[in-house]
């Protein structure tokens, strides 16, 4: 009886052990790592920086402007790569198909370096895993054999005020030989709601920049908030006094330069844009939605603004109604129920 009871106790303890989080001590670097895993995941975009470049007379990359980059960082559960793993998918020019960077970041606490160490994993077959930030199950079964890493190309992040900043060790991420030998210099800065990077390729022999994105200036990406927007058209366009409307589109867009192109009932192409503009509102950012006649840089037909951080924004000039709410399950359900002319 006693043996039976002891067996039961052991089994019970094992069960409990699996269910409970294991208590442990954390070093300072491990705490920084936990902090990073909390603040970094999210969507980021540098739409405002690109606008600022344009306002400064740099309308494109060739004239010195930053690349328009949208970063999608998500924490993923891949024990084969360790406890702290991030999936990174970035695209250019507001085009989710123009992939700019796709990596798996294996993060660890490097006590010798007193830094958070990031090992960059390059996918051997990246296309297979595209979209994993929205659907991490795509990564199921991924092994180390499915990625490549490069010696000397790890990134070391350390605390710098409210951010964690760092890069590769100078000259270590080298490749090529002879006069062609060069090294990569990729640097990161991650803070609450911001993620920056800069990138260049340097000639090992001369120290000359062989390639540098935007002159090795920081790309400053701001964390985006996602909204669900209803786009409603008049049910009776010939009678502007008739307030009846119907919802033509439910659109997911973000407040750091998200856009959605659509066709108005009269055939005109239009674009809805959502931004958190720098300083245009004087001494402060402004949260703005616009309808453009054509594409995003084209003239606006109507715009409306509010305070950055607002959870909703909407407008109705009579010929269109746009209702945007922070993308949450409650708001999605609410929008689906709501007849816009009610």
């Amino acid at each position: 009886m006693m043996k039976w009871f002891a067996c039961l106790t052991v089994a019970w303890a094992a069960l409990l052990g699996n269910a409970d989080a294991q208590e442990r001590r954390y070093t300072l670097v491990e705490r920084e790592l936990e902090y990073l895993m909390e603040v970094w995941p999210g969507n980021y975009d540098n739409r405002e920086q690109v606008q600022h470049d344009a306002d400064m007379g740099m309308p494109d990359y060739d004239s010195g402007a930053h690349l328009r980059v949208h970063g999608q960082i998500s924490r993923v559960d891949l024990p084969a790569f360790g406890e702290h793993v991030l999936y990174v998918e970035e695209y250019k020019d507001d085009d989710p198909t123009a992939i700019f960077r796709q990596r798996l970041y294996e993060l660890s606490a490097d006590e010798d370096e007193k830094a958070v160490r990031i090992r960059l994993h390059f996918f051997k077959d990246g296309e297979t895993y595209l979209g994993a930030h929205d659907d991490p199950s795509v990564l199921e079964g991924l092994t180390r054999a499915d990625t490549d890493t490069l010696e000397g190309c790890d990134i070391f992040l350390r605390r710098d005020g409210y951010a964690l900043t760092g890069g590769m060790k100078p000259g270590d991420c080298a490749f090529g030989s002879g006069d062609e030998r060069r090294y990569s210099d990729y640097q990161l800065r991650v803070g609450e709601q911001e993620y920056g990077f800069r990138d260049r390729m340097v000639a090992a022999a001369t120290g000359e920049n062989l390639e540098a994105v935007a002159g090795f200036q920081w790309h400053d990406l701001r964390q985006a908030r996602w909204f669900m927007c209803m786009i409603d058209f008049p049910a009776d366009p010939d009678n502007p006094r008739n307030p009846r409307q119907y919802t033509e589109h439910y659109v997911r867009t973000h407040d750091q330069g998200g856009t959605f192109g659509f066709t108005y009932p009269d055939g005109r192409p239009m674009t809805l844009s959502m931004r958190t503009r720098w300083s245009y509102g004087m001494q402060r950012d402004s949260f703005v939605i616009k309808i453009h006649d054509g594409g995003e840089p084209d003239p606006d037909l109507v715009y409306h603004w509010g305070q950055p951080g607002d959870d909703r924004i909407g407008m109705n000039p009579g010929w269109i109604r746009v209702q945007c709410d922070l993308d949450t399950p409650v708001n999605r359900e609410l929008q689906q129920r709501l007849r816009p002319d009610s």
Binding site: M282, Q307, M315, P317
Partner: protein, 339 residues
């Protein structure tokens, strides 16, 4: 020498005293008064309650709707009336000249009643003091001889969780001719962001309600926030609205401003915090309508309640509203809307 030093010390102490706040202890009731004096001053309006009455089919006072009341409550410095004094000026129907109530409230701690006591002062010549909520200097020199108080008509306020609620003592505020005596029953409720009241007069003899607004239900006024708005028109037909024709001070609990558009049409600009219209929540809305508030809606935009700015530009008009602060006023005055 020693005596000389002591004398200087005494002079310094005397000199320092008037400027320094006097340390003292506070009873619980006195703390409640301090809380009330912090909480209550402000502007309040029940525009949304009126809308709900309207939607429920109560479109006039006679059909059971509440009165539309805008209340302006300010703390004033009138030592003749005590340490805690409030000036109250309320108007009806969104018309500041239509005065509904004008009082001076003398607020004190009544330790025997365990309540905050408010003595209501009625002005003998109220017109002289209109607008004192905006310019308290109007009240300078006011004495107790300039007001009337009525025995039994004090309001006693006590704590009710996160509110202070008050009423007159039952059947104590009696007035009227012999045989037609009646008593006033005035009640208030003050919370953070809200001020409610209800009011009736009751026959002493029969207990019948002789006058009662909205069936003695609460008038629920919400605290307003003041905004300053630029109204911009185009210079010419089809042009962009870049000519600021007006700077308007307006509040977010039903504030309105009427104007004439450049084509001669009358329009009204309204600022509200709609109850539940936005589904499951309030919504901060600006609207431009043709004619008056019952006219067709020409454009509207909305945001989150509590937002410090809101603006819209449908092409033919531009409205820019910022929380009314000195800094934002200066900044609006600088800003050319086409810049």
């Amino acid at each position: 020498m020693k005596r000389h030093l002591i004398a200087i010390g005494s002079i310094l102490t005397l000199a320092a005293s008037p400027g320094a706040a006097q340390e003292r202890s506070y009873t619980l009731l006195e703390r409640e008064i301090e809380y009330l004096m912090e909480l209550w001053p402000g502007d309040y309006d029940n525009r949304e309650q009126i809308q709900f009455d309207f939607n429920a089919g109560k479109r006039t006072f006679e059909t059971g709707a509440h009165l539309r009341i805008h209340s302006q409550i300010r703390r004033v410095d009138l030592p003749a009336f005590g340490e805690y004094v409030l000036y109250v000026e309320e108007y009806r129907d969104n018309d500041p000249s239509n005065i509904f109530r004008q009082r001076l409230y003398e607020v004190m701690a009544d330790e025997d009643e365990n309540a905050i006591r408010i003595k209501l002062h009625f002005f003998k010549d109220g017109e002289d003091y209109l607008g004192a909520h905006n310019d308290t200097s109007i009240l300078k020199g006011l004495t107790r001889d300039d007001t009337i108080t009525l025995d039994g008509c004090d309001v006693l306020m006590t704590r009710d969780v996160d509110a202070l609620v008050g009423s007159m003592e039952p059947q104590a505020c009696v007035f009227g001719e012999e045989g037609d005596e009646r008593y006033a029953d005035y009640q208030v409720r003050v919370t953070e962001g809200g001020y409610w009241f209800r009011d009736r007069s009751v026959s002493v003899a029969s207990g019948e309600v002789i006058e009662g607004m909205a069936e003695f239900s609460w008038h629920q006024l919400e605290q307003v926030r003041w905004f300053r708005c630029m109204i911009d028109f185009p210079y010419e037909d089809g042009g962009r609205p870049i000519n600021t024709v007006d700077y308007v001070r307006i509040h977010d609990q039903g504030g309105t401003h009427t104007f004439t558009y450049r084509d001669g049409r009358e329009m009204v600009f309204t600022f509200r915090n709609n109850w539940s219209y936005g589904m499951q929540r309030e919504t901060l809305v600006i609207v431009v309508q043709e004619g008056d508030e019952s006219g067709p809606t020409l454009v509207y935009g909305w945001g989150e309640p509590g937002s410090d700015r809101i603006g819209i530009n449908p092409g033919w008009i531009r409205l820019q509203c910022d929380l009314d602060t000195e800094k934002m006023r200066k900044f609006q005055d600088w800003l050319r809307p086409d810049s």
